[in-house]
């Protein structure tokens, strides 16, 4: 275990220690102060890696886990992994600090909270740095599980549980699909290592499993990153505590899918399916998220939809960038790789400003008691610092200078315009639609950013509509993390190339290794189409925002049921209903029905075997002659059996059943089996007596003497079973494949000293069977005894109660 392994696994180790710290120190010091050391330590260690990795010296360290299966915890730290690692640990540290002031140390179960959070942090760090696909999958699922636990942190609330369940179902569905996709990749390349898969990219692209693997992996990425139509879990996940929302549902977990797509781009990039799926779904998600965000009245829901929208933006840029793999190194590759660069850049920016915005919303919620924008207003003078951060965050999100969102938004427009110029995959209408849709989505983005900024802070202060009486600025500890993030937003705008050189370009290099030259970020492109697009966004956005009350009604025209949530819950309900009704249809509780299934199954298996093996072939040559006694006894048996079937009276049925038994005795006699005849006679007598006893004790109620009801199904089934078994017996007795072993038993006198062969077999040759049979008999006897003697006097329900 290397130091880097220790760094990445540290959150898991810390998670074990947390409950002990909580128990001994929490009444004095908030547990979060101990926890914050973990991400800070990781962050510093990862910062120390920057020099070597920005020089292109990637780190690969292996740690055996299941060596016999070649599943090892291999860490491959390159630019992409490092960037994600820095985001995870950096924002992790800020979120922990924020949570110290957000979560009350006396009222909340802090040990649970920090264990889940640390589990998530460790899983996320391992996920981005793992080279082994199965380790990656394991940690992928661990992020789903820990996210489930965090969403349902206030488990006594119904909405939390529902949100957690929904997130769990959707992300695990995608996770399993991704596992299948990874297994396909392993089958193609015969390696578990991501790097070796990328090295064998030709093998994958020629394989017939290329498209299935691509679709399955994209399914995993899209569900995790809340892409359309799998985005529905993210707004419901807002029931989690706000630090969790800030951390998981804006900065880290939802970017796991983005990470996966970026990682897999060298493998799948360059194919038209990948390009159009990622670009198309990304743009649709961007549009859908931004339009839905406008309608929200809850600030966190607004931010959730805005996250969905921004993730779609990043995804679509990754899609455009994947075209870089279509070209050889050169001008065009550089052009499309720029879109990848924009994606990575916006990913970084989004983590900063969205984290800050969530914290701002958390502050508003914490200080006023509500997140509903219809109740809030005029907080500007009360919370000036919070407002400043909100201003920076939302203007950056809207894509205005002087904030980092402006830079990445401009690059986004460049990327989208490039997508429209893509001529290699020949889907012109889609290519032209993308930039237009993206532009409209940007207008909507601008509008909801304005809503986020104006509705809570401007206007009149309405203290009577707020749950809390004294509203004031948040404590300084709660403000520090968003201040840090907010200043990052501004700093990145002014010095983007420091970030570009040390973090973003190495990240790009780990996706596209053979780039001609590193990218530079410039705030001023000259008067290009990007600038006009941005100006258009601002002008139209402002106009639409001012007139929002006039056109907002248009949304109400849309039917309420026409949304994905309704589709999801109704399909879930339907599935439950269908499976219940399906099970109830055949699991009737009636033993007759089950018997019909069993008999039909038995006879169809036997008949199928007989027919498919071509076995229906009678051979009567070895049969003995039929004597007059055989015929007589058989006729009598048939009469007795038919009487049993058709009689109206139960006594008659019992007696004729007894008759069948005694006729069997006669059969044993004429076929020379005296032992059997003796036993059969006594046993038959005993069973008939027992039958009569049962008959005597039948309940008085409903004791009607009536004929057996006729049912066609029963008749058909019984005839079919009878015919099949008869044919089977005839076929089997006609063909003796081996000589029987009876000759051995004829030596009974020499071997066992017994002239009675049957008895010699029973007690000597096969004594073991007899021993177990008397055990069976004994158990039956004891069973009857206990059933009768040891039952409780009351009814069954009384018995259940006394137990």
């Amino acid at each position: 275990m290397s130091f880097l392994h220790f760094t990445i696994l540290l959150p898991f180790i810390a998670a074990i220690v947390v409950p002990f710290i909580y128990r001994s120190f929490n009444h004095k010091i908030h547990t979060g102060w101990f926890v914050v050391l973990v991400p800070v330590f990781i962050f510093i260690n990862l910062l120390l890696q920057i020099p070597s990795i920005s020089n292109g010296e990637n780190i690969l360290i292996s740690m055996p886990w299941i060596p016999s299966l070649e599943i090892n915890f291999d860490i491959y730290m390159d630019g992409l992994a490092l960037m994600f690692g820095l985001i995870i640990s950096g924002i992790g540290a800020l979120v922990v600090i924020y949570s110290i002031f957000y979560m009350d140390k006396n009222r909340e179960a802090l040990h649970n909270f920090y264990i889940y959070l640390l589990l998530f942090m460790g899983a996320m760090l391992g996920l981005v740095s793992s080279d082994n696909v199965f380790v990656l999958y394991t940690l992928w699922e661990l992020t789903s599980v820990s996210s489930f636990l965090l969403i349902a942190y206030w488990y006594e609330r119904k909405k939390s549980r529902e949100g957690a369940l929904k997130a769990m179902i959707i992300t695990v569905f995608g996770g399993l699909a991704m596992l299948a996709g990874l297994i396909l990749l392993v089958m193609i390349t015969d390696t578990y290592s991501l790097r070796e898969m990328i090295a064998n990219v030709d093998l994958i692209q020629e394989s017939a499993l290329f498209i299935p693997a691509l679709l399955l992996i994209l399914l995993g990425a899209f569900t995790k990153s809340a892409q359309f139509p799998f985005s529905i879990w993210l707004p419901d996940a807002m029931e989690a505590p706000t630090p969790v929302s800030a951390y998981l549902h804006s900065a880290t977990m939802v970017k796991a899918g983005i990470y996966l797509v970026a990682r897999m781009t060298p493998i799948f990039g360059g194919s038209a399916t990948w390009f159009w799926l990622v670009v198309g779904i990304g743009v649709i998600t961007l549009f859908y998220g931004s339009v839905r965000a406008i309608r929200q009245t809850d600030l966190k829901a607004l931010l959730a939809f805005s996250t969905i929208s921004q993730l779609g933006l990043i995804m679509s840029l990754l899609g455009v960038g994947s075209a870089a793999f279509y070209f050889n190194p050169g001008e065009s590759q550089q052009l499309y790789a720029f879109a990848l660069f924009a994606a990575i850049f916006h990913l970084f920016n989004h983590s900063t400003f969205k984290g800050a915005l969530f914290m701002v919303v958390g502050i508003i919620d914490h200080e006023t008691g509500t997140r509903d924008i219809r109740r809030l207003g005029g907080l500007l003078s009360i919370m000036p610092i919070t407002f400043t951060i909100a201003l920076i965050g939302s203007l950056s999100m809207a894509g205005l200078p002087p904030f980092n969102g402006f830079l990445s938004k401009e690059m986004f427009f460049t990327g989208m315009l490039q997508a429209s110029e893509v001529d290699m995959f020949s889907l012109e209408w889609l290519a032209n639609g993308c930039p237009i849709l993206a532009w409209i989505a940007s207008i909507f983005t601008f509008i909801y950013c304005m809503i986020l900024l104006v509705r809570p802070f401007l206007g009149t202060f309405k203290p009577d509509r707020l749950p809390k009486e004294k509203v004031h600025e948040a404590p300084i500890g709660m403000l520090i993390p968003p201040i840090i993030l907010g200043s990052l937003v501004v700093l990145i705008f002014f010095f983007p190339n420091i970030l570009g050189q040390y973090i973003l370009n190495p990240a790009i290099a780990s996706i596209v290794p053979d780039l001609e030259k590193p990218f530079k970020i410039t705030a001023w492109h000259g008067f290009g189409p990007e600038l006009y697009m941005t100006i258009g966004v601002i002008v139209l956005g402002l106009l639409l925002f001012v007139s929002i009350k006039k056109w907002n009604i248009a949304f109400r025209v849309l039917p309420e049921n026409l949304n994905l949530n309704y589709l999801y819950s109704s399909s879930l309900e339907n599935m439950e209903k269908r499976s219940v009704s399906f099970t109830n249809r055949y699991m009737t509780g009636s033993i007759r029905h089950y018997l019909i299934y069993i008999f039909v199954f038995v006879f169809s298996v036997l008949a199928l075997a007989l027919i498919t093996l071509n076995a229906i072939d009678f051979d009567f040559s070895n049969y003995a002659y039929v004597t007059i006694y055989d015929v007589g006894i058989l006729l009598a048996m048939i009469v007795a059996a038919l009487t049993t079937l058709f009689t109206r009276n139960r006594i008659t049925a019992i007696v004729s059943l007894g008759a069948v038994g005694y006729l069997v005795v006669m059969l044993f006699v004429i076929f020379r089996a005296p032992d059997l005849a003796l036993t059969q006679m006594v046993v038959e007598t005993a069973t008939t007596a027992l039958f009569l006893l049962c008959f005597y004790h039948l309940p008085k109620l409903g004791k009607k003497v009536e004929k057996v009801k006729f049912k066609l199904t029963n008749l058909i089934v019984s005839i079919l079973v009878g015919v099949t078994v008869t044919i089977l017996t005839l076929v089997a007795t006609g063909h003796k494949l081996f000589t029987p072993i009876t000759e051995f038993f004829e030596n009974a006198y020499e071997l066992a000293g017994a002239k009675n062969i049957v008895n010699a077999i029973l007690v000597d040759f096969r004594g073991f069977d007899t021993m177990l049979e008397i055990a069976v008999l004994f158990i039956a006897g004891i069973g009857v005894y206990t059933l009768i003697k040891l039952r409780s006097k009351g009814s069954d329900t009384d018995e259940a109660e006394t137990e």
Partner: protein, 141 residues
């Protein structure tokens, strides 16, 4: 009040002796002729049931103080232990042996361990059959 079945009682006293004798004969004959532990046990059980039918339960229990459940258990155990006994001499489980011995009164006689096993079978059958029948008949519905 039970009627005084003098004829039944008298016949039963005679018949029981005959039935028991016959069942012992069936048991012993089993080694060489039709019969054996199972059928012998069942006929014994039939004789006991006949006693129960003609006399009242208390009287039978006083004169034949046997716990038939224990009898059945002992039968099963005998069968298992005869099998284990062979293992002491290094044979397989349930390996039976037999030999011819000159016993004073009977003269040359065959003795087989299989008969011991059969005793177990017979006891188990008697015990089980009587247990089932008496527990059902004593049941008050």
């Amino acid at each position: 009040m039970k009627p005084n079945d003098v004829i039944l009682n008298t016949v039963t006293k005679l018949a029981a002796v005959i039935i028991f004798t016959f069942s012992i004969d069936l048991f012993w004959a089993g080694h060489h002729f039709p019969g054996g532990g199972f059928i012998g046990g069942l006929t014994t059980a039939a004789g006991i049931v006949l006693l129960y039918l003609s006399f009242d339960i208390e009287r039978i229990e006083k004169n034949l103080p046997i716990d038939y459940k224990k009898m059945a258990a002992i039968g099963v155990l005998i069968a298992i232990f005869t099998g284990l006994a062979g293992m002491i001499y290094g044979d397989n489980f349930l390996e039976q042996t037999f030999g011819y011995f000159n016993i004073p009164i009977f003269g040359e006689t065959e003795l087989a361990t299989a008969v011991l096993f059969d005793v177990g079978v017979a006891l188990a059958v008697i015990g089980t059959a009587v247990t089932i029948i008496t527990s059902i008949s004593e049941d008050e519905l």
